[in-house]
Subunit: 371 residues, 2 copies
């Protein structure tokens, strides 16, 4: 165990370390808040990305109406950390989880989503037992093909069921399409988002026909929010913009370059631990430090070399061309992970830096809270 002091230079941190530049983070937070304000849409950032009430409070202070969570366990951490308005964007089923959610609803404004009448009954029973009210959105499948109801009329019927259930309040609908977030190419991503928007319009029409008001229409992500501004959404769920991971960055912007409205604030600091040959070195971070699902990390500030996973605790870095000097044993290397959310979930703490020096160590308080 070693706890470095504030003021420590980044290169003197022990590794691997999850490093976050707080100045970039605060600029990202301010920028998304301004974009939502300009669009007249409420911002409810997804806390599944950072899993930290500290970052959540900074987002709320900048104008967010509250946060989204994926899991009841994340919501418990957020409420304990001072967040009082939460949407759990995921189906909550069974006695234990609905009881926990209803308990939270005694302490904060709690909403969740449903795509099944039996789940609605569970939620209602738990809410009544707790003497609480849970707001519920119908989860509508606008093309993602994961959870949610794909037929608009069936979705409206479930809305009526929610409205008729004591202990619950029908609040509107969720329409999130995850798989279009990373579509490569700005125009292709816009086209995919517009197809999803057209499906949302059909759901809104079905709810209107059923005379069900939908004060909340929640959805969109970091990759599509700009295409989902004038399409019926009342709030955006974007999460990744706070750190702007490589997958989003590389998805492509309007100008043909990277998609770069936000700064890449997150990196994994590693140490060169072995120098097996002139064309290869090994760093001390592998699959227990960075996730695989967003592809391999990129090396920051190190042209001429390429990272490859070398098992649970190793990264094998290979020369891609002649000329680049090989780092020395003990040198520190920044990696940019492909997918922030799943990488952050492996770490116990953020090493928060400003202008090249440590300013704080913050816990990833909801890390592993997958229940």
């Amino acid at each position: 165990m070693h706890q470095p002091l504030p003021g420590t230079e980044i290169a003197d941190l022990d590794t691997p370390a999850l490093v976050v530049d707080i100045d970039m983070v605060d600029r990202n937070i301010a920028k998304m808040a301004a974009l939502a304000r300009a669009a007249g849409i409420a911002l409810r950032p997804h806390a599944k990305t950072h899993k930290s009430p500290i970052f959540a409070r900074r987002q709320v202070a900048a104008g967010a109406v509250g946060v989204c969570c994926q899991k009841v366990g994340e919501a418990e951490v957020m409420v304990a950390g001072g967040i009082d308005d939460i949407l759990v964007t995921n189906e909550i089923v069974g006695r234990i989880k609905t009881t926990r959610l209803a308990g939270l609803a005694r302490l904060a404004t709690i909403r969740t989503v449903a795509d099944n009448a039996e789940a609605v009954a569970w939620l209602g029973k738990a809410a009544r037992a707790a003497g609480a009210t849970i707001g519920v959105l119908v989860d509508c499948d606008i093309g993602h093909g994961r959870t949610g109801i794909a037929d608009p009329r069936t979705a409206a019927e479930l809305g009526q069921t929610i409205a008729n259930t004591d202990g619950l309040r029908f609040d509107g609908l969720q329409a999130y399409h995850g798989s279009i977030q990373h579509v490569s190419g700005w125009a292709q991503r816009r086209a995919a988002a517009e197809a999803a928007n057209a499906k949302l319009a059909a759901f809104r029409a079905a709810f209107a026909e059923a005379r069900l008001a939908t004060p909340i229409v929640s959805g969109a992500g970091t990759g599509t929010f700009e295409f989902q501004a004038r399409s019926g959404y009342t709030e955006w769920q974007c999460g990744s913009y706070i750190f702007m991971d490589r997958e989003y960055y590389n998805a492509g912007g309007e100008d043909g370059g990277p998609y770069a409205p936000f700064e890449q604030a997150l990196s994994v600091l590693t140490t060169v631990m072995s120098l097996p040959s002139e064309d290869r070195f090994v760093v001390d971070a592998g699959l227990k430090t960075m996730s695989l699902d967003g592809g391999v990390p990129e090396l920051r500030d190190l042209p001429g070399w390429k990272f490859g996973f070398g098992g649970d605790e190793h990264g094998k870095v290979a020369r891609t061309g002649p000329g680049a000097a090989r780092p020395k044993l003990g040198d520190k290397i920044h990696l940019l992970p492909g997918h922030g959310d799943t990488t952050i979930n492996m770490h116990d703490e953020y090493f928060v830096v400003s202008r090249g020096r440590l300013v704080a160590i913050w816990p990833v308080a909801a890390r592993g809270k997958n229940r």
Copy 2:
């Protein structure tokens, strides 16, 4: 938060939950201990798999000489948990990590590996400052191509450097080949292990020529230990056998069936959270609950269905043929993860079961200890 009581049936646990059958674990521990005893080889199980001193103590009680760790942080947890003989199987470089390792060497028998003279100097300096002795093995590359020295004569020279360094004790060599562990097919795996054994013989000859005794020759894993019995190894580092994950199981046994000397003791319990269609259901476990690097999990006891990752917190299960009944909302499903080590590293606790009921909840105490 919800902490179930001992006696709770598995199907009544909240999910996702990392479930371990302690009866299977204890049989796996006893079986590997017996195999090592019969081969006349010391067993030093790798604690990177379970990251828990509780399991480590059970292995030592069954005859293991100590454990292996990948990281100093894991070793710190093991020493605090009562393990007094540890080999850190990974290159340790830099002031902070060598200082931490030397501190541990005041409390327990500590060994590590080296492939670089500068790293040896760091280790020696830290050991002398702490007034401790660190045992060091030369890390020899017998074909893995990650860390380690590939040339036998160079390896022997480093052995001499270690022997000449105050504060260090030259203890022998490490010869671990990670990538042959999962070679598909028993005969193919044996051939790969025998090629590695031939390389080990060249290293041993070089050390003998340099008149350096190598009392410890450490290596082998769950996939190759049986082929590395009469080849110069004095201790086996096998780790995965304790839970026997799917990747090893599917690698193929001598009879053409699965490689099954050990029982699959680990599963991830999930809940059916959404029923979008007759041919599809969704469970509450995704990339933040199970790692991707060992492939997709298999469904236990559920023929006719196939798991696919559906993002950070979802698994999409699709029908593979007609006839299989679809589970109901709230039903519990066991998944067998591809790779145990990286999956366990996402979880805060083991739900330890025996004969279908919970007996204890044990922390994954070294989870995330990647420094």
